[in-house]
């Protein structure tokens, strides 16, 4: 999945990878492709994790893990970092999700469980701020329920903000006219994909 997302990130793009699954996308970008990695805590031009023993906890990513800075990278304060997102300067963000609706609503910040302590971080800013918001997730829950649904039942992060969904089964574009399948995993039929998806798909 991470490899498939990485294929679609073009040279020169300014990209923010969400915490968790999306972080792995960076490992699949070819070294000769210049992509500017942004992290919400005030860095652009972020590089991979440092070798063990050289970690510096003043240089961390949004997941609070130590990272490195590539030549050309820069630091800025939090208000500027989120201005960069909302202001249309971030080309792509890749986020995990609990659910995505057929209209591109995203739910990824809160399961909605009554006893859960809510925490939102930069999820809402990223979801509506990036020029393109891509979701990367398993196609269904562990129990086999569809995660692409007519309407999110988990609390939403943003409305009509998702432009593409990458799952273990397919790559799907979200448009004003609904969901269009770009690719299907090898060996899977369109009907099988549709059966795992609670929203009508188009080829």
């Amino acid at each position: 999945m991470a490899r498939r997302v990485a294929q679609d990130i073009p040279e020169g793009a300014v990209v923010n990878l969400g915490i968790g699954l999306p972080t792995k996308v960076a490992d699949h970008l070819p070294p000769d492709r210049e992509v500017m990695m942004h992290s919400e805590n005030g860095v652009i031009g972020m590089g991979p994790a440092p070798p063990p023993g050289t970690e510096d906890y003043d240089l961390i990513n949004a997941g609070k893990q130590p990272v490195t800075l590539r030549p050309g990278g820069s630091f800025f304060h939090h208000a500027d970092s989120f201005a960069l997102m909302r202001g249309g300067h971030l080309d792509i963000c890749v986020l995990g999700a609990f659910q995505v609706s057929g209209g591109g609503d995203l739910a990824n910040w809160h399961t909605g469980a009554a006893d859960a302590i809510p925490a939102v971080g930069g999820a809402m800013d990223l979801a509506v701020g990036a020029r393109q918001t891509w979701v990367m997730m398993e196609h269904t829950t562990k129990a086999g329920e569809a995660k692409i649904v007519p309407a999110c039942t988990c609390p939403v992060t943003g409305l009509a903000c998702v432009s593409r969904i990458y799952t273990d089964l397919a790559v799907i574009d979200v448009g004003t006219d609904g969901l269009r399948v770009r690719e299907i995993a090898e060996g899977l039929s369109f009907d099988e994909l549709q059966a795992a998806t609670a929203v009508p798909l188009r080829r």
Partner: protein
């Protein structure tokens, strides 16, 4: 002569009153001014409202302030973390009020206070639980939510170098909320690892001009993970 340098974190925290609104810089432990928070705990002020991105990590710094029962309310974006057990306990027991704010909106509300802006409309959060009850407006074809500034009585921030006018530079991602919090508080206290003579900081590289800073305290560079810096020795 203008001299904002104080001898100790304790001296810088001495006048924080009951019920003060206190901003604390930092993203996780990077940029968290632990020494100032420790001095605030020792000083004993209670009924505080704290503004920080998180709600404390482990048992030190902000987490220790919460554990000591000094905080009435916290305004933050990401309280729940693997090591936020003190906040979690207080929250579940109904002993702390939480105002949850999307991170970029939090930064901009702080910036707005410092910039004298009465609020702003942002697309972030529209249609979500966090915008419930807030004024909305359709601007340039996009629904947006009205957000108000957050002012503070004190801001405790961590910088790298400072001078007696309060000019500051930061270190890498430890900068995070420091510059905007410095603008938004009546009294901004900056801990620095190095105090340099006036004029020694490159004026082109000063991130926070001294006008936003009222007190500067030098602290040793911590060699712990919680200090945000790990010595390679």
């Amino acid at each position: 002569m203008i001299d904002k340098i104080l001898p100790s974190p304790a001296a810088a925290m001495a006048d924080v009153p009951y019920g003060a609104v206190v901003m604390i810089g930092g993203f996780g432990t990077a940029g968290l001014p632990n020494e100032l928070v420790d001095a605030l705990i020792a000083q004993g002020a209670t009924g505080l409202t704290i503004v920080n991105n998180n709600a404390g990590n482990g048992d030190t710094g902000l987490a220790a302030l919460l554990a000591a029962g000094r905080v009435r309310k916290i305004i933050c974006s990401f309280p729940r973390q693997v090591d936020s057990w003190h906040f979690d306990r207080l929250y579940r027991a109904g002993q702390i009020e939480l105002e949850l704010v999307p991170q970029g909106t939090l930064a901009e509300r702080i910036r707005a206070a410092g910039a004298g802006i009465g609020g702003f409309f942002t697309p972030t959060g529209y249609g979500t639980e966090l915008a419930r009850g807030k004024e909305t407006r359709l601007i340039d074809g996009r629904w947006q939510v009205f957000e108000s500034p957050i002012h503070a009585d004190y801001a405790l921030i961590k910088a790298e170098r400072g001078d007696r006018w309060g000019n500051l530079t930061y270190r890498m991602t430890a900068r995070n909320f420091g510059p905007v919090m410095a603008m938004a508080a009546r009294v901004t206290v900056a801990s620095v690892h190095e105090i340099v003579p006036l004029g020694a900081l490159d004026p082109e590289a000063v991130v926070t001009p001294g006008v936003y800073v009222q007190r500067v305290v030098q602290v040793a560079r911590a060699g712990t993970a919680a200090g945000g810096f790990r010595t390679t020795a």
